[in-house]
């Protein structure tokens, strides 16, 4: 009986793992129950895929030079102020 329940449970909720990595199936079930019928799994997949597509597209954009320059500048400032603090003893 228990194995049968488990199989049914997984069938009903397998899609959660597709969209939401690392989420425990058990906790998701109680939320779905509280919210009424679970969303269409195709809808969930489409939303997840589009969100990732959009996010990955931004991540793949070349990083503007300003950020590299900014970090170089910050590094330089830190190094100058450390040199002052160290009285030139080390760099």
């Amino acid at each position: 009986m228990f194995p049968a329940c488990g199989t049914f449970f997984i069938q009903q909720h397998w899609h959660i793992g597709v969209l939401f990595k690392g989420e425990s199936v058990k906790s998701k079930k109680s939320e779905d129950q509280a919210k009424g019928p679970a969303m269409n799994e195709e809808a969930i997949r489409r939303i997840g895929a589009t969100l990732r597509e959009r996010y990955n597209a931004i991540e793949s954009e070349p990083v503007p030079d300003r950020f590299q320059k900014l970090l170089d500048q910050l590094e330089q400032q830190t190094s100058v102020s450390n040199d002052k603090n160290d009285d030139g003893a080390s760099s």
């Binding site: 939401f20 489409r46 939303i47 895929a49 597509e53 990955n56 300003r66 950020f67 910050l74």
Partner: protein, 185 residues
């Protein structure tokens, strides 16, 4: 001093995902990059509070998020109003092909309350775990879960795909099934 270059390299590696996260919070791409810039400055000066070997992405996302909300408080509700204007004329109608347009998704995201938007971006798009997202947002794991759930429901309503039984398997669905690993650590 010796660990400064290492820290800088780690920050550089975070920039693409910081920009993507910022784009979800800020009202424009320019505003998002300004936010990233502020975050880098803040993070640089706070580097003593970062423990090497721990999760720098979550640490920097936290700084970015705090910076965003702090700016928002300073400017009144300006940013929120901008999003409100964008969310007019909802809902968005998907194209006949059933392919979901990225601009439609952007509009739909803008219609979400901020807490739900950041939750669905962190979990559904950036690949963070619930624990990491909870750390970034400074709330309990259960809170993140319920925000994601509400966000997902709202997005489906706005994008009118809640009852998408008429869509067969399409390119998007095929794509996600073929993705080898959605998580990045």
């Amino acid at each position: 001093m010796s660990d400064t270059p290492n820290f800088k390299d780690q920050m550089l590696e975070c920039i693409p995902s910081l920009r993507a996260f910022a784009r979800s919070l800020a009202s424009s791409a320019d505003a998002a990059d300004d936010l990233v810039q502020e975050t880098l400055v803040k993070a640089w000066h706070k580097q003593d509070s970062f423990h090497m070997g721990t999760n720098i992405r979550a640490w920097m996302f936290t700084i970015l998020r705090n910076e965003f909300y702090s700016q928002m408080r300073k400017r009144g509700r300006e940013i929120s109003d901008a999003n409100g204007a964008l969310s007019e004329n909802m809902a968005v109608h998907p194209e006949q092909s059933g392919k979901m347009d990225l601009q439609d998704m952007q509009k739909a995201l803008n219609s979400l309350p901020e807490d739900q938007r950041e939750a669905i971006i962190l979990i559904g798009a950036s690949g963070m775990s619930y624990e990491e997202a909870a750390e970034v947002c400074g709330v309990a794991v259960g809170t993140i879960k319920s925000r994601v759930s509400r966000a997902r429901t709202r997005l489906a309503e706005v994008l009118e795909i809640g009852n998408a039984d008429d869509y067969g398997p399409d390119a998007v669905a095929t794509q996600i099934m073929a993705m080898p690993a959605l998580s990045r650590q």
